[in-house]
Symmetry: C2
Subunit: 249 residues, 2 copies
């Protein structure tokens, strides 16, 4: 810190943070020292540390999670909404090697949401396929999909084939690989939630971590064939859309 330079201390501190991340002393995704430790390390006040963290976060250098800590940010995967990239392609854009494992494949009794979305009788059987998508072996997304039994059977078989072949996949990728169902419509809703104990375990993150939840209804010729709840690590994934604006009248 150069107290005589006229440059505010917090701005100098942000520059120091940037340097520590650039040199790898604070590796991407790694946790920073606590606020208290940063005060000692840089011989500055708590207020200066907080201000620098706030700016570092806004600049995308840092990622702070309430009650958990502050981390050196990683550039998140970005999935454009106007194109349809495979899970593998999306991760490859950040230089990550994608892989997918089948967490569970079962036949279960549908709850109200599942049967109404899939237009099945209440408590009708549904196939539940749960996948974990990884980047460089780290969990990034948990896919929880429900299918009518006929589609579910095809999809489960396709998932096992893809897994045996070592091909990374999301359920959307699987339709490409099997002869039966041809989806032609995708309705999605984007929401923010926080990880509960179950999701935290599945994604190897602390409870309370931000999660981007994307609920999809996938249809084929007017028939809903899949109801999917995908939970992405909030710090690793974002969705982007680029639109023309209509002329204001």
């Amino acid at each position: 810190m150069d107290r005589g330079s006229g440059r505010p201390l917090y701005a100098q501190l942000v520059a120091d943070f940037r340097e520590k991340i650039r040199t790898g002393e604070w590796p991407p995704g790694g946790q920073l020292p606590s606020e208290r430790e940063l005060c000692t390390l840089f011989a500055v006040s708590r207020i200066t540390v907080r201000r620098a963290i706030e700016i570092g976060e806004r600049e995308g250098l840092l990622h702070r999670v309430h009650g958990v800590g502050t981390f050196a940010a990683r550039a998140p995967m970005e999935q454009a909404l106007d194109r349809l990239h495979s899970f593998e392609q999306t991760l490859a854009q950040r230089g990550l090697v994608a892989s997918t494992s089948v967490h569970a494949a079962t036949v279960t009794v549908s709850d109200l949401a599942q049967s109404s979305v899939l237009r099945l009788d209440p408590a009708a059987p549904v196939t539940n396929l749960q996948l974990i998508g990884r980047g460089d072996d780290e969990p990034i997304v948990f896919y929880d999909s429900y299918f009518p039994p006929d589609v579910g059977e095809e999809m489960t078989a396709a998932a096992r084939r893809a897994h045996e072949a070592g091909t990374p996949f999301s359920t959307l990728d699987l339709y490409r690989d099997q002869a039966g169902t041809r989806p032609d419509r995708l309705e999605q809703a984007f929401e923010a939630i926080v990880a509960d104990r179950r999701l935290a375990g599945l994604l190897s993150i602390p409870e309370g971590w931000p999660i981007l939840q994307v609920t999809s209804v996938i249809s084929s010729a007017g028939r809903p064939v899949e109801y999917r709840i995908a939970c992405y690590r909030g710090d690793r994934y974002r969705f982007a859309v680029d639109r023309s604006l209509p002329a204001f009248s």
Copy 2:
């Protein structure tokens, strides 16, 4: 609880939850009793309560936030990405009365992210307009917008006019209302974060609450005129998109 009915206790409990919400005993948005209290209230085990909450959450009845509590859900505002609705229209769809207040309007020195997005010199002056959008007087979104000074001056004046006229607005709505800038392109990214102390205060929610953060770059004839970070309460807002899927080859 009817232990002789053959119907699993957790399923009976979900039905009881639904009834309490339907009758208004648990009003929308209200906090439920703790897990321990629910055990006593319904004379069931902690496991049964947890299972019922998990299902209730999946069915959209309940909304659980780690470290905070479980709440009776409210239907979130849904904004379709393929249309451009005003802030007022989006809230009206759920029967809420929209209002907007100007939290701050200042000229400040741009940080690295702001100057690079707006293509200004580093540390160039920018206008910062901060708005709070409310539904039925409850904060729902915090808009933090940065403009080049010429656009910022127009927008701040337009915000003050709209506020004085009692018209609810987002910054996008404001372009309609002023003569100068005509935006024609909107690039957006959707991310999940959790509320820090500052956001929690601005949105009247507990720290750690889920936030849907939408970063926008708004351009006019190839010039970026606004860099906006909008933070929506995760439990009150979601974005939806409905797409045709290309034929898989």
